[in-house]
């Protein structure tokens, strides 16, 4: 039994009758609340009262029941808004107004549908914990660990390969394979030295999916673990995931979170690394655990184990869409297999390095998900349960947000520039309906997403992507065959601070338009010919857009990456061995494969280029790494490692990446969401970037 049952299984007839009756009463009540029209004053009082009730309920921070109640309230209020919108605000006059008004309405309905889906997907995250393996390792199954690579440098991939070798599993049942689509000699030599299987194929058909499928034909393991070439697994990866595979013979997939030890472009350029949850935290922290409840966790391409027989039954990894991973999971679900998500980070990788790489990767995902939506729509076709259909659909239609977001960014401009009405109601009334809809959504979402996503940051992330995914997703909706797989590059270095004007162009254009619109709006107020309340709302909306767009522009100001190898803040005990034969007990402050910053008990009086050895203690063995002092002041020494032997490199990789608890406390410094503060932070980041951009020399990426 892999997923918990979705409701009580033993329920007497009387019990069912009771539930049905209560639901009917609730439904009637909700319908009344939704459709009864109220005047301005009554609506204001009603809206304010309900919101105050919600705020009071929200004080019970830990109660899931309260969360449910807030979801119900939010959905009721939003449904009231949409109903009112559909029934009372569409009496527009000119063709232009009707057209534009309908476009805006469609965008709002999209947002409303996404709200429903979103709540459903995340309202009860299943926090699945690892299940222990049987006591006797001789009963454990064989696993192949596959690490496909194409053009990533050996410097990046070798660490992953070494970390995979360090996974705790009976050595005769573990095979680590490097699948090199680049067919490079240095990779072959490294693998031979390290005891790793080296696999190549004569062509690169179907990119990563083809690479894996080709290797699967040669491997014999009952299970397959797949890692991106820069995702380093911890030693506990298999022991914490395979338990579920053994417990449920129909389990085809155990997925684990993608964790990143380097900052993504938002975190790097805003310097919010580890303080504010990053963009992926929501997906792996809340969405996938939510999916897990409905048995619809999907494969994310890395940090997962799959059952070979399940993969073979669907013909290997899917090759006809660009997000082959999600599609493969969908096909396995259709065949009746189960999937699960173990909510413990057991691998760590590099986030996308620059905004353009980030956007490129997301475009691929967006295009791919829409391709799947078109060619293998989860709402139709056999084999899926209703909840699975809804979960997959939710994940996919999320990527259609390009057009609605663009509409929202342009809507106020229509009124401010051209006085075209998109609502035919007094502005004040609009506010009394729309504000509760927005506020409840913010409140409830913030409560559910507390440490996984801070309010309004979602807006920034989506604003950044909106204009770029618009075209690919629309094309994919029309004809899924358009588009080819473009690999996200890993390991590229941002050499200098620079402003990526090329990628920021759409935001700059929209920002400018909104700024001009605000100016025009203010001028109109002075003219006195247009109703001030309508102007005020649109000005406020345009201001909101300006804030979001300036934050998006700010992200494009790439902070220089100072070193090529990522440093991790990590405290492990080490021993320094000095020239002269003395040893000093010390602790690392941060550590990378290239060197370390070490905290010593006293000032050691070392000089630049002094030779020392740094001893690491891994699994009861001591590894003495030769190093040169780069800098020493007070109690801190910065050393750079000399050329490492394979054993030494392996020891460092294990120290940094392999410990079972390596990433468990990563988010401890993250602060929980407070929407108001979040709002101010975004304004701050948006505004401070503008002078930097104006004073600096904006030049495009060469």
């Amino acid at each position: 039994m892999s997923a918990p049952s979705q409701g009580p299984t033993r329920f007497s007839f009387a019990g069912w009758l009771f539930v049905v009756l209560v639901s009917m009463v609730a439904l009637v009540a909700a319908t009344l609340v939704v459709i009864i029209p109220l005047g301005l004053r009554e609506q204001l009082i009603f809206g304010a009262t309900v919101f105050l009730i919600a705020l009071a309920l929200n004080l019970f921070k830990k109660s899931r029941l309260v969360t449910m109640m807030l979801v119900v309230i939010s959905l009721t209020v939003s449904t009231r808004y949409i109903y009112w919108r559909l029934s009372s605000t569409l009496g527009l006059e000119s063709v232009l107004e009707i057209t534009l008004g309908s476009i805006l309405l469609l965008a709002e309905v999209y947002a409303y549908v996404v709200l429903w889906f979103g709540y459903m997907q995340t309202m009860w995250p299943l926090r699945r914990r690892p299940v222990p393996m049987p006591r006797d390792p001789s009963t454990w199954p064989s696993v192949d660990v596959l690490i496909p690579t194409y053009n990533e440098p050996l410097e990046v991939v070798r660490a992953t390969l070494l970390a995979a070798k360090a996974i705790d599993w009976p050595p005769d049942k573990l095979v680590v394979a490097c699948l090199d689509d680049g067919r490079r000699d240095e990779f072959k030599q490294f693998c031979e030295q390290a005891g790793i299987v080296y696999v190549t194929r004569p062509n690169n058909e179907h990119a990563k999916a083809g690479n894996i499928n080709h290797a699967l034909k040669q491997m014999k393991g009952e299970f397959v673990a797949i890692f991106d070439c820069d995702h380093l697994p911890t030693r506990s990866f298999l022991q914490f995931t395979m338990g579920w595979m053994l417990r449920d013979p129909k389990m085809a997939l155990v997925q684990t979170p993608h964790h990143f030890h380097s900052p993504d472009p938002f975190e790097k350029n805003f310097k919010i690394f580890r303080r504010i949850p990053n963009e992926e935290d929501l997906f792996y922290g809340l969405v996938q655990p939510g999916n897990d409840l409905w048995n619809s966790t999907f494969f994310c391409g890395s940090c997962a184990v799959l059952r070979r027989t399940a993969l073979e039954e669907v013909g290997g990894i899917a090759t006809n869409t660009v997000t082959e991973d999600a599609h493969t999971a969908l096909m396995m679900h259709r065949k009746g297999w189960n999937s699960s998500f173990v909510d413990v980070p057991m691998a760590s990788g590099l986030a996308t390095e620059s905004l353009s790489a980030h956007v490129g990767q997301r475009i691929r995902w967006a295009r791919g998900m829409i391709q799947v939506f078109r060619t293998d729509n989860p709402l139709f076709g056999r084999g899926l349960k209703l909840a699975q259909r809804l979960s997959y659909s939710s994940a996919m239609i999320h990527f259609l947000n390009g057009l609605p977001r663009l509409v929202f960014m342009l809507a106020p401009l229509v009124f401010l520039f051209f006085s075209v009405n998109l609502f035919n109601r007094a502005a004040a009334l609009v506010l009394t309906y729309a504000l509760p809809h927005l506020f409840h959504a913010i409140l409830t979402t913030s409560r559910m997403q507390r440490q996984y996503r801070h309010s309004f940051w979602a807006e920034v992330y989506e604003t950044v992507l909106a204009t770029y995914i618009l075209l690919p997703t629309t094309l994919a909706l029309i004809n899924p065959k358009l588009g080819k797989f473009n690999v996200t590059s890993k390991g590229g270095l941002v050499k200098d601070d620079f402003f990526d004007a090329k990628i920021a162009r759409p935001y700059l254009v929209l920002l400018l338009l909104n700024l001009v619109a605000i100016a025009v709006g203010i001028w109109r107020i002075q003219l006195g010919r247009t109703p001030v309340d309508a102007l005020a709302i649109n000005l406020a909306w345009a201001t909101y857009n300006v804030i979001m767009l300036s934050a998006a522009v700010a992200v494009a100001y790439e902070a220089k990456q100072r070193r090529k190898v990522t440093r991790i803040a990590l405290e492990v005990p080490v021993a320094l061995r000095l020239d002269g034969g003395h040893t000093i007990r010390a602790t690392t402050v941060d550590l990378s494969r290239g060197g370390a910053l070490i905290q010593t008990p006293r000032d050691l009086g070392l000089k630049n280029t002094d030779a020392v050895h740094v001893s690491f203690y891994v699994a009861d063995a001591e590894s003495a790494i030769p190093a040169k002092v780069r800098f020493q002041k007070g109690n801190r020494v910065h050393v750079e490692f000399e050329k490492l032997t394979l054993e030494q490199e392996s020891a460092i990789v294990r120290t940094i990446y392999s410990r079972a608890d390596a990433w468990v406390n990563w988010n401890d410094g993250t602060v929980v969401d407070r929407p108001l503060r979040s709002w101010l932070e975004i304004i701050y980041y948006g505004l401070i970037s503008l002078p930097r951009i104006m004073l600096g020399r904006p030049r495009s990426d060469p």
Partner: protein, 248 residues
């Protein structure tokens, strides 16, 4: 009272300094501990402040309670019992008694230990003698001190046989003066882990110049270089010894 015996087949492995620094660490942690020297070299006390030429010790047969009390008063940091200066004839007599009488040395030591001693660390001389078996078989814990080199590795089978024969309750192999910069040392320790894996201690005492300097100044390494990895390692050793004696 628990007895810990430090033993090695090969000489020069640093057994005596391990005994003294371990005794110092245990004393610092509040255990009432006495280090006993059964090696005619009579060098153990030098680590702990004894003056060269001190005559009091285990080997003397003419000790009065006054002598014993005077010795106790003279202890400055760690409680220890020297072997003592004796003549050649006295030495022969000592060895004869120790070999012929199973419990003779044991009783002698007990008589001289300060009352209330919780842990006695008995430093045996290197090699296998007539009375080694007696000393080992009475021990709660045998700590075999060796180097990570081929010569020490070669002594392991003989050591295992000896230990098997005398039925010591707990055994630990401690690698001393470990220099992890030397690939050979790392390899040999790995090989040792293969043949005595259950008894090989998971940490080592590093080869630290501070230990030699400490001895030259008649100090313990904790006093002389408290920041060193060596001092830290003795802390680990003391913890391990106490846990093992408690039966964990």
């Amino acid at each position: 009272m628990k007895t810990v015996v430090l033993f090695s087949v090969k000489g020069g492995t640093g057994r005596t300094s391990v005994a003294c620094n371990l005794g110092a660490e245990l004393t610092q942690q509040g255990r009432r501990c006495t280090v006993v020297d059964t090696d005619p070299q009579n060098a153990l006390g030098l680590h702990l402040g004894m003056s060269v030429g001190e005559r009091f010790g285990v080997a003397r047969h003419d000790l009065t309670s006054h002598d014993i009390a005077r010795h106790q008063r003279g202890l400055t940091k760690v409680s220890y019992l020297p072997f003592g200066q004796c003549s050649f004839e006295e030495l022969l007599e000592f060895e004869r008694q120790a070999v012929e009488n199973y419990a003779w040395l044991d009783e002698r030591v007990h008589r001289l230990l300060p009352p209330g001693t919780e842990i006695a660390l008995i430093d045996l001389p290197a090699g296998i003698r007539g009375w080694t078996y007696h000393s080992l078989s009475g021990a709660d814990l045998v700590l075999v001190v060796l180097h990570a080199d081929a010569a020490s590795y070669a002594t392991i089978p003989a050591t295992e046989e000896m230990l098997g024969r005398c039925g010591a309750r707990h055994v630990g192999y401690l690698v001393n003066q470990m220099d992890a910069r030397m690939p050979l040392s790392v390899d040999v320790r790995g090989a040792m882990s293969g043949i005595v894996s259950k008894s090989l201690l998971p940490f080592t005492i590093p080869n630290d110049e501070a230990m030699r300097e400490a001895f030259a100044q008649q100090k313990t390494v904790q006093e002389h270089a408290p920041d060193s990895q060596a001092a830290f390692a003795f802390g680990e050793l003391a913890d391990w010894v106490q846990a093992t004696l408690r039966g964990e």
